[in-house]
């Protein structure tokens, strides 16, 4: 059981081009900023939108194939879709909503199945309430119960926690994992939150302006991003153009007038250097990769100091270097106007 998706679709100026496969029982994350085509991708998989070109195959059954002119209607795809706003039917009770997912069963069976799902998802006592009388978390569970009632072969989750308060998220994430364990097929989990993906998915496919990159392991991707969009998702804040340095093992940053040692070997296609704000640390002037900076601006954050630095010798319009320091480290520094900093060679990210 696997879901493989290769589709292209043009909508105005926007070009969607995604290619990934989600395996059995696997939660594959589709990660990207809002407006990068995540929801459109899910709609194409579910069959409520039609791609221009490509192929969608689930468990060996072709659901869409532009070359062979196949496009199975959504009703016969049996793909569960958890919408961002849950899309509960507002005029039906919770139980009626769940039963609407089980209409392929006989009436007596349906009743049993609804009762079973109500107890499995902890919705006892809520059966007769309408969606607007339920909390966000309960609405989500009704929507999931309704999907499970329809016996889907694959499941699509569209930003499952975006409609919820942050303090509720953690508990609901645990619940979601329990609920997903009731389900055997592939799951596509759309998100813009790297933490959520890190905690819940093993593999991730990054979507950047409609284009997908090959799926990679989540830990590997966030630790060693190879593209700017992956680095951005991993929380990297500094980007500056880069080229190979004069000696092997070095890189040159023309805008900052710097040459630094990099642990990763140079490779074809690299054009940008990424540096996490946390990896910029004050250092002695003889330290490896040390360079002198002037402070442009300092901001106090909740748990850290954020400093915007200009490396000495930088061009006037060069990007500033963002540094994030613990408050006590900042306070212990003798001079806040200008000081030496360094970035360890293994912390220089060579990005495409």
């Amino acid at each position: 059981m696997a879901l493989s998706v290769q589709i292209q679709k043009k909508a105005g100026d926007f070009q969607l081009d995604v290619d990934f496969t989600a395996g059995t029982g696997e939660a594959l994350a589709l990660l990207g900023a809002s407006g990068c085509g995540k929801s459109m991708t899910l709609k194409c998989i579910a069959g409520v939108e039609r791609p221009d070109r490509g192929r969608i195959v689930l468990d060996g059954e072709v659901l869409y194939d532009s070359e062979r002119g196949v496009c199975v209607p959504p009703q016969r795809r049996r793909i569960g879709y958890l919408f961002q706003n849950y899309a509960l039917f507002p005029h039906m009770t919770a139980a009626q909503n769940i039963a609407a997912g089980a209409r392929h069963m006989e009436a007596s069976q349906r009743k049993e199945r609804v009762a079973q799902l109500v107890s499995q998802l902890g919705l006892e006592g809520k059966e007769r309430l309408r969606p607007f009388q339920l909390s966000g978390g309960q609405q989500q569970r009704v929507a999931l119960a309704r999907i499970l009632a329809s016996e889907p072969r694959a499941m699509l989750l569209d930003e499952p926690f975006s409609a919820l308060d942050t303090y509720l998220k953690w508990r609901l994430e645990l619940e979601m994992r329990d609920i997903l364990s009731l389900f055997q097929g592939p799951v596509v989990w759309v998100s813009h939150d790297q933490g959520e993906v890190y905690r819940n998915c093993a593999r991730v496919c990054v979507l950047d302006q409609g284009k997908s990159s090959p799926a990679a392991g989540v830990r590997e991707l966030l630790a060693n991003p190879v593209t700017v969009s992956a680095a951005r998702i991993s929380g990297c804040k500094n980007y500056v153009p880069v080229r190979p340095g004069p000696r092997p093992g070095t890189v040159e940053i023309p805008l900052w007038g710097l040459t630094l040692e990099a642990a990763a070997p140079w490779r074809e296609g690299v054009s940008v250097l990424g540096i996490h704000a946390r990896h910029v640390q004050p250092a002695g002037k003889d330290a490896r990769n040390a360079f002198f900076c002037e402070t442009v601006q300092v901001t106090e954050d909740v748990s850290a100091m954020l400093a915007a630095l200009r490396p000495k010798g930088a061009e006037p319009d060069a990007p500033l270097l963002r540094m994030e320091l613990d408050k006590d480290v900042w306070a212990a520094m003798p001079d806040h106007k200008g000081f030496w900093v360094s970035v360890e060679p293994e912390n220089l990210l060579l990005l495409e």
């Binding site: 709609k43 579910a46 069959g47 409520v48 209607p73 959504p74 009703q75 016969r76 795809r77 049996r78 793909i79 569960g80 879709y81 919408f83 706003n85 899309a87 039917f89 507002p90 005029h91 609407a100 997912g101 209409r103 392929h104 607007f132 309704r146 999907i147 329809s150």
Partner: protein, 225 residues
Amino acid sequence: MMDWYPLWNSVRIAGISTIIVFFSGICAAYYVAKAPRLVKGALDALLTLPLVLPPTVVGYLLLLVLGPKRGLGAFALEVFHVRLTMTWWSAVFAAAAVAFPLMYRTARGAFESFDETLAYAGKTLGLSNSYIFWRIRMPVCRQGILAGTVLSFARALGEYGATSMIAGYIPGRTATIATAVYQFWRTNDDAAALRWVLVNLGISAAVLLVVNLLERKNREERKWL
């Protein structure tokens, strides 16, 4: 003793035209709401036209088509020996024509504010398109559709201009409340005219009250969504 025929005739004309307009208006609204923008604009203008045209213009156009000398009217007379004008049910044509835009526009508004993800959800759950239309789209839009129905009924009941042209005023046969008021006033029977005016006021006020109630209920439900 008052002759209640105009009341009965008005109610039956308004009732029948409301039923016609209910289905045709919803159909038109459903397809126009889904149509591409250019088609939408053109169709919308065409379907709303009877609302802004003087009823006499609508009556004249109807007579062109249904009158015994030309078109459908001539055909019906020749083949079925039926006159399409000057009978009580001729007024249904007039009432339906002027009430149609009200039903159509209110239903279209309701359909356009319908959250399409509900239909998507229904499809991915395996629900048939007709289930989605009758059991999801219509109930969710019911307030707007009900309001449109009541408004159409009220408009059909008050129709005068086109009705008087196509059905005339024949006491006991084609007389409606609206045409009766005009006739009684014209023949200086002020007392009778006033009686019908009061009847009409009562019915219209009741109808508008119902519309207001529906709208308030609608707002309260929306607050929760």
